[in-house]
Subunit: 432 residues, 2 copies
């Protein structure tokens, strides 16, 4: 790029995989990126665009010449164009739609009528289908005759009844290995299941992972075949969902490493603001005991320990719970067993650390009483942490809030308040 | 199960998918599980075993009659048996190996010679291969003639040179759609790449996701084809890796919802112990300022706010960093740009919250000075949080420690110590 040699750059870039080029674009700085885009006019721009982080796509699309953009988008399959379009503003969407050939444009516009993050957005409309009564030979002849209409990637031939409702599928492997006269119905797979077009993409990814599927036919409300989702798209969703959980648990929403300072600041601000309210709440609890602290300053030294241990134990329980809810391992059937277990774990670990802290209190400040207070407060807070760490995410899930998003704030509020209150309250009773 | 009706139970269970049966086993209690296993003798026990959480497998295998276990294992493909075996103790491994037919046993024993979590453990040894000079018709005839040896699931035919080194692959779709006389070399895919047999499974999953692969041939040190990894196995690994990151970030290691109380307690203990040391370190910092706190008790009330805000901001930065390292979006090339951005984000958010806290300090305690102290300490700690949140995971990665595992403890230690020190130190200077 530095030498401003367009041809050399094109030659290098075109040997790379589009996903790697997108990674490079994400890692260089803004001005470097603009210079790169001015220079590069190779063949894989469309695929690079669809690999790019959403935050950068808009910037890159705006930086492109209309001609380059048109050429880039025409290379893509319609489901990739949908993916590209859904995060863009109206005028940019228009520009790209106009660049498409009419048939592709219709497919993309159809996909955009389905709800965001639904199976309909994820699927490709092209499906290789065969009437139920066909034999292996019929299916092979049909595919040979019509190669222009075959999807880029496909792994199953879907059997449909006369109403175009899918009733089973056959793997290409079985098709190739079976004699031509075998009826397709005889070699269908057990794993066959369909998904409604408005199903959430997270559920789709879960089904692929749970049932080891490779492709899943998509049906509309009438049960008719409208498209096909393949495992590679499901894998991307699964990866995104896990990423979302990780980032939400840490209170950073959609924040990516390639976001700019101001976007990042805005994305992190709300969670920090929630945390500030939480922290002030804890401070109000502490302020109720100012008189006690003024008499025994050691309390101020030791009180963060109880709160911090509770906070950590709570985060442990809550993370396991959030993850188990996401993977459907925590349900109404076992929630009370899990709660009992978390409380027991809190109790056992609480007792260990109570013993440790009792000894620390005794040695450091030479007070048996202080040791008792620390120990009791520790046990109380760790049991509460276990309880809150399970019940809060389960309750949030029940009322329809993503437990990954909001649990952390609630759980630490509980452990801070209980921690300070138990420790300082006990101290007020036992030490004064 | 309650009615102890074996036949009815078998009938119901055999209509379910093995993965769902495994989920049921994970969610019921221990005694219910034993009763279930005594009663059930349906056909899908082997697959249920391989879907089961690792923590439960040992329990279930021990509860099974040797005959049932033998029958169960014989149903499985060799890569599933490997997956089942690698988490078991020696005597159980022996029992299962003895139950296998000799050819499967050899394949399983071969797989177990590869390092744990390597491509070799993940692959299936059966690959459909064809000499480079073959035409489409040759490949189809070969598959038809030899159906007994075809893998259960396969999506590509791998071309090999005379030394058995893979040189490309052809999708079954292209094979079906092309005329019989087309040379296979003309319809190979661009996406072709191989993976060494000792590559880490995390890298394999990353490659599948990054390059949208469906299958990847595995080669030994001589470059010869030894097996094939398919996307469904890579998807499971990707899911496990994300889960591992989530759980490690929260300090719960391998903890699952179905683990028992004592296992859970042991797994969570080490991180809580680390946190205790951290908390005591923070307490030691506070204890240096006992005299100041004794004079201005308001400091004890407000000090947790500064530490808590820093801890949260640090966790945000560190989570984004850990995730970006895992997805290879944070590398040597952009680390300084990211550090600069994190510091700026910390500064901007720090200034906002400094203003807010300055006002809180002023109104609550009526002291302009206290407001200043809070505000300055807040800015300092949030900038430090941004810095530590990036540099600590990057440094851990450099020295070969998983940043997800250890970053949290280090970052909160830094933000606690800096938070308390900055706040109380400034207070000592400005208020006394």
């Amino acid at each position: 790029v530095e030498a401003r040699d367009t041809e050399a750059l094109d030659a290098i870039i075109d040997t790379l995989h589009p996903a790697d080029v997108a990674d490079i674009l994400e890692q260089i700085s803004g001005p470097e990126r603009r210079e790169f885009l001015d220079l590069y006019d190779g063949d894989i721009l469309g695929e690079v665009l669809s690999e790019l982080d959403e935050g950068l796509r808009e910037e890159v699309i705006n930086a492109l010449q209309p001609d380059d953009l048109t050429a880039a988008v025409r290379e893509l399959e319609s489901d990739d164009v949908v993916d590209l379009l859904e995060d863009l503003e109206e005028p940019q969407q228009e520009r790209i739609l106009e660049a498409l050939p009419a048939s592709d444009r219709a497919a993309v516009e159809q996909a955009l009528t389905y709800p965001e993050f639904s199976a309909g957005r994820l699927m490709q409309p092209e499906v290789v289908r065969a009437p139920e009564h066909w034999r292996v030979g019929d299916a092979i002849d049909y595919m040979r005759s019509d190669t222009a209409y075959l999807p880029e990637q496909f792994y199953h031939v879907v059997l449909v009844d006369p109403m175009m409702r899918p009733t089973g599928y056959v793997t290409l492997g079985k098709l190739l290995a079976s004699p031509r006269e075998t009826p397709l119905m005889e070699i269908v797979e057990d794993s066959f299941r369909t998904v409604p077009v408005d199903e959430a993409e997270g559920e789709v990814a879960y089904a692929f992972n749970q049932y080891h599927l490779i492709s899943m036919p998509v049906v509309d409300n009438g049960g008719q075949l409208v498209g096909m989702i393949t495992i590679d798209d499901a894998m991307v969703v699964l990866d995104e969902e896990a990423e979302e959980d990780i980032l939400r648990l840490a209170g950073v929403g959609e924040n990516r490493i390639s976001d700019r300072v101001w976007d990042t600041t805005k994305r992190r601000f709300p969670w920090l603001a929630v945390n500030l309210v939480t922290a002030i709440l804890a401070s109000i609890v502490i302020s109720q005991f100012e008189a006690v602290i003024a008499q025994v300053v050691a309390l101020a030294v030791l009180m963060p320990i109880v709160a911090s241990m509770g906070g950590n134990a709570g985060t442990q329980s809550l993370t396991v719970a959030v993850r188990a809810i996401a993977t459907k391992d925590l349900t109404g059937a076992n929630v009370w067993r899990v709660v009992r277990r978390e409380v027991l774990v809190g109790l056992v670990n609480g007792l260990f650390f109570a013993l440790a802290m009792g000894i620390v209190g005794l040695i450091w400040f030479g007070s048996m009483q202080l040791g008792y207070v620390l120990a009791i407060a520790m046990v109380v807070n760790m049991v509460v942490a276990g309880l809150a760490g399970i019940l809060i995410p389960v309750a949030l899930e029940k009322i329809g809030v993503d437990p990954a998003l909001a649990s952390g704030a609630f759980v630490t509020t509980v452990t801070d308040v209980v921690g300070f209150f138990a420790f300082l309250g006990l101290a007020a009773i036992m030490l004064l």
